[in-house]
């Protein structure tokens, strides 16, 4: 129970802090509108959520047999990334419309990936230590 509560508090905190850090740096270093700020925060939180999933699965999957097939399953992520990078296929358009995903400028992707990778590593290693 203690382990569960610690895990949840830590994960939720890292995800939210990463999202707000995205807003802070995007506003500070980029000329950006409100919709783009929302997309930055959302994208960072989605990527950190995926890291959260790996921090649950990978330590438990067995020290000698990390289940890499679960990594492949994350190809689903490629539905989201093309949508946010302005891809214009039929399926992608449906997803974009349904979830109101907007185009994210390439320069913002640098910020998004930097914050996402840092927060994902923090999250993963903190959870593995617990």
């Amino acid at each position: 129970m203690k382990e569960l509560i610690t895990f949840v508090i830590l994960s939720a905190l890292v995800i939210v802090v990463a999202g707000y850090a995205g807003i802070y740096f995007a506003e500070k270093y980029y000329a950006i509108n409100e919709k783009e700020i929302q997309m930055v925060m959302l994208t960072i939180m989605i990527i950190t959520n995926i890291a959260n999933y790996f921090s649950i699965v990978l330590p438990d999957a067995g020290k000698k047999c990390t289940d890499l097939s679960s990594l492949r399953t994350w190809n689903f992520t490629w539905i989201y990334i093309p949508a946010a990078t302005g891809s214009d296929m039929l399926m992608i358009n449906l997803v974009k419309e349904f979830y109101e995903i907007d185009y994210v400028r390439p320069d913002l992707w640098v910020l998004i990936m930097t914050i996402s990778i840092i927060s994902s590593f923090i999250l993963y290693f903190a959870q593995v230590q617990i």
Binding site: V8, D60, A61, K63
Partner: protein, 259 residues
């Protein structure tokens, strides 16, 4: 007498003619004074089950600590443990007599520090299980005889053999069909899968709920910007809960080195 004839490692049944004029009640109390003319001795030994090695490997691989609680003599247990590759010294063996008339503290120390317990009565086994449970240790007791019954009943998980006494099977949580120890890894595996799947999916759900609460409180407190629109949350649900929970449930992660 049995030890002199190197029969100490067996369970021995002596058939003979009693030469004293003692009633059965009397010689129960005074075995030393009993004069017997031996007719024959039947010596019985336990055969190591072939599949016990797999079960031991599983326990060792998963950090499960084993203790042998036996009614047999220390010599008999030593013989069996030698076969399975455990080198046990005489000084490492605890007998039922060592456990009598000692305080709870001393009893706990002996139980924690030792692995092999010989010549135990049912009440000793029960006390050992109770001591371990009191220390918040999850206990499983495997046995077949009536003398294991109280301990099996008290343990968090009682496991009986199919060939065991019917009352033991009645109180046990699990009965190993065909007395197969090799079933234990799959039982353990299945239990692990269920518990870990529920735990993992629970973590995902509670994490998502928590960070939505954080975001909502932060955006309310600071009138700041947040991404908690219904579409955003449902998109996070897809990537943060729905897909991971689906994968975790379908994949059924194994927890063993041989996976």
């Amino acid at each position: 007498m049995f030890a002199d004839k190197e029969l100490g490692i067996y369970r021995n049944v002596l058939f003979g003619i009693v030469r004293n004029d003692m009633s059965s009640e009397e010689f129960k109390e005074d075995l030393e004074g009993l004069e017997v003319e031996p007719l024959c001795v039947i010596s019985i030994t336990d055969k190591i089950r072939d599949d016990v090695y797999d079960a031991l490997k599983l326990f060792e691989g998963n950090g499960i600590k084993l203790k042998i609680l036996s009614g047999d003599s220390a010599k008999a247990i030593q013989e069996v443990t030698n076969i399975i590759g455990w080198k046990i010294k005489d000084s490492d063996m605890i007998t039922g007599n060592d456990l009598d008339n000692i305080s709870d503290e001393q009893f706990k120390k002996i139980v924690m520090d030792n692995v092999i317990f010989a010549r135990l009565k049912p009440e000793h086994k029960l006390r050992i299980i109770k001591t371990l449970k009191k220390d918040k240790i999850y206990t499983a007791m495997i046995g077949d005889g009536v003398n294991d019954l109280p301990a099996i009943k008290e343990a968090d998980m009682g496991i009986a053999m199919e060939e065991g006494s019917s009352i033991t099977k009645e109180v046990a949580d699990i009965v190993l069909l065909k007395n197969k120890f090799s079933l234990l890894p799959s039982i353990f595996d299945e239990g692990n899968k269920i518990v870990n799947t529920v735990k993992s999916v629970g973590k995902l759900f509670i994490t998502k709920i928590s960070f939505v609460i954080y975001i909502t409180l932060l955006s309310l407190s600071f009138s700041g910007f947040s991404a908690d629109t219904p579409q955003s949350i449902s998109l996070i649900n897809v990537f943060g809960i729905a897909l991971p929970a689906f994968i975790i449930t379908v994949k059924k992660y194994r927890y063993f080195p041989d996976c």
